[in-house]
């Protein structure tokens, strides 16, 4: 999978800008650690968030995980299909398993995030 235009957070979210919108999801490493995802709770469309705000919950059999906004702005889309079938986040974390799309208030916030190789280093350190 080509992740060269994805950026990553230390809390294992990814963000990719598609046609000006910041699409957000959780990383493959995160879904693997969480394992069977049983529920996803997403915010209301139109909600304004700051980078670092909790925007979603991902539930597994054993635990509930908070998902944080990698960038600030307005939530303009939420992915209802992962609410219907949370296992999509396990099977396609970087694709169909995206969670929300944010209209960024400050697109330069993306520059503070990690690129793929920096994120891989972070995972290696954690393990």
């Amino acid at each position: 999978m080509d992740l060269s235009d994805y950026r990553f957070t230390e809390s294992h979210e990814w963000v990719q800008v598609r046609e000006g919108l910041a699409y957000v999801g959780i990383t493959d490493h995160a879904q693997e650690q969480i394992t069977d995802i049983t529920a996803v709770e997403l915010p209301a469309e139109g909600k304004t968030v700051k980078a670092g705000d909790e925007i979603a919950l991902v539930d597994s059999v054993k635990s509930t995980f908070s998902i944080f906004a990698p960038v600030g702005g307005k939530i303009v889309q939420v992915n209802e299909s992962v609410v219907e079938d949370p296992s999509i986040v396990n099977t396609s974390p970087y694709g169909e398993g995206w969670l929300v799309a944010i209209e960024m208030s400050d697109p330069s916030e993306i520059d503070a995030l990690m690129d793929e190789s920096e994120y891989e280093e972070l995972i290696a350190e954690e393990e």
Partner: protein
Amino acid sequence: MQDGQTVRLSPLDGMHASSGARMVEFAGWRLPVMFTSIIQEHRAVRERAGLFDISHMAQIIVEGAGTQGWLQSLITNDIRLAPPGRGIYTFLTNERGGVVDDGFVFHLPDGRFLLVFNASREPAVLEHLRSRLPGDVSVVARLDRGALAVQGPASAAIVQAVVPGAENLPRRGIAAAAIAGAPVWLSRTGYTGEDGFEMFFHSGHAESVWRALTASGESAGMALCGLGARDTLRMEMGYPLYGHELDETTSPFEIGYGWAVKLDKGVEFPGSEALRREKEAGPLRILAGLLPEGRITPREGCRVLCGGEVMGRVTSGTFSPSLERPICLALIASDARGEFEVDVREKQVPAQQTALPFYRPARGD
């Protein structure tokens, strides 16, 4: 982990590493939490069978002339319900009637007793026993043992193939058997609600017993199962787990297990007076099954409210693979009446009380 202690390894630790198990530390032991997926392992046990490493369980041998009478003066259940070749579920209680631990007392066919209790409570159980030990009884915690469980509707066929006659072992029965040449104590017990067997053996035989069972279970679709599925299976049954539903301040009556407290057996035991008073007055708390609305599972510690007042707490919460929804066990005030709500991450979610178990396996008893 407590200071200075090293983690204890199952005799199957190397086997688990090569099976790709995800390991966790539990009660001082390193054990598999899952092999493939908690949900898949759970469903395998409900529909077919699963194999669990339960080598962490404390195995304590009690023997000597006075054993039976002494155990009768310690356990809440009635030891006479366990003639040779049978086991009983029981509690050990403190003077206040609080639970020191829960577990199985097996009366082995050779006359000795095998106590199988929680790994996390092994030191407390040993202290409880040894501080009351008479001269004609010996208590030995066996550290050189392993244990496995085969659970699920196909378990009788799977075990029968390696131990001819196993399918005739009655519920709670225990017998000497051999698996792959290794001597084992084979019991018809478990912690999943399904038909099943547990086997206890010398740790040196663990790998050969494991191999024999995995080979036998293969055609039946038996899954390797970790502690994750063990926990979701027991929660669906409303079975308590020490440290969650049980502690030294919780009584058997509060969790709805009065059937394992025999106050009329003619022998007093630690806490019997307190438990008699509690039985008469009725317990102040009860263990309730709750079905919370919404998709996010309320976890242990979440407050349970009734009429806006805190009436208790969630003791265990999980996504139930059988019901495909969140379920919770909660200790709540027994006089709480009305609609319940559970505090989940700063939201109050309505929760409907339901009779336990949450899930009723198909088997007859």
